[in-house]
Amino acid sequence: MDPSVWPGAPFLLLATLACASAVAVVLSYNVVRMALYLIVCLASTAGLFLLAGADFVGVTQLMIYVGGTVVLLVFGVMLTSQAQYVRMKAAPHELALAALVAGALLLLIGWGALRVEGWNAVSSGPVAVFNPEPQQTAAPIGLALMGVRPDSPPNAAAGQPGAAGYALPFELLSIHLLVALVGSAYLARAKKRVPSAGPTIGAASPRTQIQTPTSGPTS
């Protein structure tokens, strides 16, 4: 067998894993199981990035999505869940709505992806083994995110300014995330009004006062 065909096997494995676990996320009713499938899905996507030689993107995927977001998600579920294993079952009309939205998104993404020239005509023969350039490090990306583009510096002789960095989109994304955080905090707030201060707190405070000396550190 030609060794250049080999990258196909891990790719197929990871891609199957990613797709299967993505479907499992949708079909599962248990939040924490969903989180496990989501982790498998995101980690295999990170594996696909690593396989393609995009080390930085792959590791960032692991760091932010798998390590950060999903752990926080599970942490939130554990803190907020009322019962042991919450089953989330959607009503039929919600399912239909979700299928509509997801189908529209799939169509849009698929249409966009298939319009990329060259992807349509992928030959089934052996492709060139990916050989990353030695100078491909994370440094240019990091600098570009801060607004400096080392790959296209300003040309003083021609009076050209350098290419624009990614500082603005980066900051916009942060603001977007902040808005999402504020929104989720608003959605997750306590819906029921807690009875305003009065007898409840007054009744509770003597108990805490009694408990404090006994539960204090003994050392």
């Binding site: 080390d55 590791v59 798998v66 752990v71 599970v74 042991q84 550190p217």
Partner: protein, 412 residues
């Protein structure tokens, strides 16, 4: 890569490819399993000595060498229990998630660097590393953070209050300690100008005066913060709040028994090896001995031994010695962690959080700023600014420019 190139001459290509993939995996798995075997024995011995006992003395001779093996047989023969209310799938999956994370972190961990005499010289032997990534440190940090997920799953799926408490503590602790740990890891990255662990390690060649720990006062303090944060991130005493047997029975693994329980232990010892070796690579000269032994033996190209037996053989020998050196350094770090475990009492959960948020994070952040200022004012000096930076140690200041000037410097 070099293994693949070598095997290509002897075997059919697909077999060579398969072997070159599975060989590092087998070696690393051996390191993890064998390391756990040795470290559990060592843990017993260290604990015993700290408590003025002898520890295991009978199984397998005077020092109880085979105690861990006996433990393993006992664990294998135990009944595999699962609580009635447990979520079976998650309960079974959790130990594997933990162990997979601990093992995957080792893939990017180098055990030796390039044995080159001068900057820009051609590499004679490839570094011993499962997969050399130019974001190796970032990869290790990201994957080590995933181990918490196994613990959280175990705690959640056990249907036990003790387990859930342990898991929640673990999640809070690991998520918090990743912040100061990240600050500590940025310090050697800024010194080396690269996240490639091989580059960071090769920067510190020559002798102990080139080590990052002695680079300036700020890196010296960073090492201590790193030690505390690494201990907390692998969940060892005095930060083992997730287990805390005096409060939570056994925390997240209360409901586990037999082989599944031992997987958690293997994951813990595996990540101890990882953070130990990582600390050695980042701060304590990586695969370089405290005094230039390889140079004294004439191993680098141009040395006397090298001129007799050939450069490539010497470079391979140099790499093997480097691997032994970095493993010994990692082992020393692990022994220190054991010593700390059996010496210090466990912190309370609020003390753990105070240590992280009020002490470690500001300290690590200010050490990073201090180190950057030191580098700006006294560039290119080592040993607290006393010595000039050795020219033989490769330093990549601007990798994309450096690489175009000397393409061979960073050739994989």
């Amino acid at each position: 890569m070099s293994v693949a190139r070598y095997l290509d001459q002897l075997l059919p290509a697909w077999l060579a490819e398969l072997l070159s993939i599975s060989l590092p995996l087998a070696l690393l798995l051996g390191l993890m399993a064998g390391g756990a075997l040795v470290l559990i024995w060592l843990e017993r011995k260290v604990a015993a000595r700290v408590q003025d006992r002898l520890g295991p003395t009978r199984v397998g001779g005077g020092f109880g060498w085979l105690q861990t093996l006996a433990d393993g047989i006992k664990l294998l023969s135990k009944e595999d229990l699962m609580p009635g209310g447990a979520d079976g799938l998650l309960f079974r999956a959790a130990p594997y998630v933990s162990m997979m994370a601990a093992f995957t972190a080792m893939l990017a961990l180098p055990f030796s660097g390039s044995c080159a005499a001068t900057a820009g010289a051609e590499r004679l032997a490839n570094p011993f590393v499962g997969q050399q990534l130019n974001v190796g440190l970032y990869f290790v940090l990201a994957v080590l953070g995933l181990e918490v997920f196994g613990v959280v799953l175990a705690g959640y799926s056990s249907a036990s209050k003790w387990s859930l408490f342990g898991a929640m503590r673990e999640a809070a602790q690991v998520v918090s300690y990743e912040v100061p740990l990240g600050f500590c890891l940025v310090v050697p990255v800024a010194l080396a100008g690269s996240m490639d662990l091989v580059v960071i390690g090769d920067l510190q060649g020559g002798g102990f005066w080139n080590w990052n720990v002695l680079h300036d006062p700020f890196t010296f303090i960073t090492v201590w913060v790193y030690g505390a944060c690494a201990t907390a991130s692998v969940n060892r005493a005095p930060f083992d709040l997730a287990e805390a047997e005096s409060e939570l029975v056994a925390g997240f693994h209360t409901e586990y028994s037999g082989l599944r329980w031992s997987f958690f232990f293997m994951a813990e010892y595996g990540s101890m090896i990882t953070v130990g070796v990582l600390g050695a690579i980042l701060f304590f000269g990586a695969w370089h001995a405290p005094v230039p032994v390889a140079w004294g033996l004439g191993l680098p190209p141009g040395g006397w031994l090298s001129s007799i037996v050939g450069d490539t053989a010497c470079a391979l020998l140099c790499n093997a010695m480097g691997a032994a050196t970095v493993l010994i350094k990692g082992l020393l770090a692990v022994v220190v962690m054991m010593w700390v475990r059996w010496t210090l009492p466990r912190l309370r959960i609020d003390q753990v959080m105070t240590t992280c948020l009020k002490y470690c994070t500001p300290l690590a952040a200010s050490m990073f700023v201090g180190m950057v200022l030191w580098q700006a004012l006294l560039p290119g000096r080592v040993l607290m600014g006393a010595l000039p930076h050795a020219p033989s140690n490769q330093r990549v200041e601007e990798p994309w420019r450096e690489a175009s000037a000397h393409p061979e410097t960073r050739a994989l």
